[in-house]
Amino acid sequence: MMDRMIIDGLAFALPLFIIAVGGIYSERSGIINLALEGLMGFGAFSGALAVVLVLRSFPGLQPQGIYIAMIFAMVGGALFATIHAALCIYFKANQVISGVVINILSVSLTAFLTRQLNSLIFKAPSDRFQLGVASRITIPGLSEIPVLGAIFRNLYPFQIVIVLVAVAAYVLFEKSRYGMRLRACGDNPHAVAAAGVDVERIRFSAVVISGALAGLGGISFAYSISANFSPMIYMGYGYLAIAALIFGNWGMTTTLGAALLFGFARSGGYELARALEMSSTFNDITMTLPYVLTLILLIFFSKTNRVPRSLGEIYDKGKR
């Protein structure tokens, strides 16, 4: 039982975490990113479309499908994020509103395209792209450790990719030149501009990265939950990621903690329901567990929250 809770919890927490990391990139550069939900969905759509197209011509690539999907999900998410970036950075739109608009656009556009492409290209009407399943991996040795060994059992390939990407994202964010400038942009963009760095470029790229990471998270959800892409992917996990990163105070490690909490609260809720033998009608009640928990924890932790200083402010070179 503990086993399943850990395995399922991680499978949910890691995609959520990588989406939240995307949010951190954007928000720490000073751009509010409520668009994560839409970016995630569009990323998943692109990845799914790519894998379906590739496999149509090269069915032999089936085992590599998930990696192809992940790459294209990141590309698609990144491309879609340029809309948010352009709106917020060049068109000085209200960032919150831009995010909401991107989400609305993403839902209607992917639904429209999925149906159109299925009938046009595949001549097979369907409102989803079938992905095929990701075979799961168990790391020998490590998985034998009692209790915690479950962490290394039945892993999805995307979990490993996410961990690698997250490490890279962490290093880039905390240790590199680029990351240092990015974080400075979220605090005082004018200081960064005075240091001869192009603030708009940094912010643009940060938003694009957030799109790529959200796309990666999205395709992971698509694989782990229903093994297909359909508009059903818009289940609000992007919003949940925002909650995680605010809860995590815009820090990477703390946000990981928040994502894990969500993951385990969710899988724990399922296990609890099974242990208590509650009937299926109560499923709805147990599903509220992560959200109730978050609200309660926020009451204790929000006081000390420190929002990036320039978050949401429209950066204007001329402004003094």
Binding site: L34, K92, A93, V101, I104, L105, A111, T288, L295, S302
Partner: protein, 400 residues
């Protein structure tokens, strides 16, 4: 640079920018939508006319038995009411500097309680209908008020708390609906009693069926009231002050917490009315666990209406028209319905750039005006010099 750009002249009139810029955004998106439709080999004009016909704003070539343009139009008004309420809810929150992303949840909660407590009761209409409104306002106001309180007292971002509450409300009401008053055929809640409904359905006028929406009257009244509240009352002054500059508001002696909670409660109350007119008006039952997309669209509608109650009225009409007319348009022109969703998103996308357009236009306009100020050497005319003096007097530093 020097030539008069008619577009700038049109958009540049500051007095009308609240209207001209959204109109510009709408025109742009209609053009973009036309391009998409032409690419698909469809006739955009027919499509747009179809949308208007579907919404009952332009007569259709033929009508089915018992229906007429009035049927479509009253049905359109019926759908318009919740949109106006929801967008107003966003507007009030926005003006207080609070981003109420929880409209959908508050609508659901309000609809749920009103349905549960009145919808299935045997109360006569004169008790049931007011009671529905009261319960909905109360439920919405309390839910949103809590968000305001959490923000003020614990510094919990309203974005996060409303998202969390949306989920919680959706799941908990879903549990109750599924357990206690679901209709096994429709798989949603049982229809409410007509006495509790805010829409008088299927009335006949000259053989034509119409839905008389009580909600639309209330919604228009609410828009005027919100306008009055924001611009003509002390409370509105305080709400706007808190929204524009918290520190300055506090300095002026305004109680920030109280004002935020009040504004949130008003916003939630309006969301509650949106819920009542949606679940107990336009529809008469609830889908378990489904948050109305309207709650999110309203955010964008409010933006399109420039967060001004009267602008919101116009924007709601536009967005509802697109939504309401889409089915007929899709049937008539043979394009998928989603195209209307795409056009809606485009309108929102373009109107999100409104601030930028305003900024650019005003800048260009000033530059056009200013051209004569610094003429090439030797071209100075008396007239120009006069203008230049005026300009620097207006904008320049103060002379002691």
């Amino acid at each position: 640079m020097n030539k008069k750009n008619p577009l700038i002249a049109f958009l540049g009139n500051e007095k009308w920018q609240w209207l001209s810029i959204p109109v510009f955004a709408v025109v742009l998106s209609i053009v973009a939508g036309s391009v998409v439709m032409l690419l698909m080999g469809k006739n955009p004009l027919a499509a747009y006319v179809g949308i208007l016909q579907g919404a009952g704003l332009v007569p259709k070539p033929n009508y089915a038995g018992g229906t007429g343009m009035l049927t479509d139009f009253t049905s359109f008004l019926d759908a318009l009411a919740p949109m106006i309420f929801a967008a107003l809810a966003v507007t009030v929150g926005f003006r207080a500097g609070l981003f109420n992303i929880g409209i959908a949840g508050q609508m659901l909660l309000a609809g749920f309680f009103a349905t549960l407590l009145v919808g299935y009761s045997e109360l006569p209409w004169y008790l049931a209908k007011p009671l529905v409104l009261i319960i909905a306002v109360t439920a919405g106001a309390l839910a949103a008020g809590l968000v305001g309180y959490l923000k003020h007292r614990f510094n919990i971002s309203e974005v996060v708390s409303t998202i969390m509450m949306n989920y919680i409300i959706a799941y908990v009401t879903s549990y109750y609906i599924k357990s206690y008053f679901v209709n096994p055929v429709s798989r949603q809640s049982e229809y409410i009693q007509p006495a509790a409904s805010l829409t008088l359905k299927n009335l006949r006028v000259g053989g034509v069926r119409i839905d008389v929406s009580i909600g639309i009257v209330l919604a228009v009244a609410a828009a005027l009231l919100v306008y009055y509240l924001l611009y003509k009352t002390r409370l509105g002054f305080e709400i706007k002050a808190v929204g524009a500059n918290k520190q300055a508001a506090e300095y002026a002696g305004i109680h920030i917490g109280k004002t935020m909670v009040t504004a949130m409660m008003i916003s939630g109350g309006l969301a509650g009315l949106a819920g009542a007119t949606f679940y107990l008006g336009h529809y008469a039952s609830m889908q378990p666990g489904v948050l109305a997309g309207l709650g999110y669209d309203a955010i964008a509608t409010s933006l399109l209406g420039n967060n001004h109650p009267l602008g919101v009225l116009l924007a709601s009409v536009l967005i509802t028209t697109l939504d309401k007319g889409a089915t007929y348009m899709s049937s008539k022109v043979g394009v998928v319905r989603e195209i209307s969703g795409v056009i809606t998103s485009l309108i929102l996308l373009f109107s999100a750039t409104g601030t930028y357009i305003r900024y650019r236009v005003n800048r260009q306009r000033l530059e056009q005006k200013e051209q004569p100020i610094s003429p090439a050497p030797g071209e100075v005319s008396a007239d120009n010099e006069e203008k230049s003096r005026e300009a620097s007097l207006k904008e320049g530093g103060d002379e002691a």
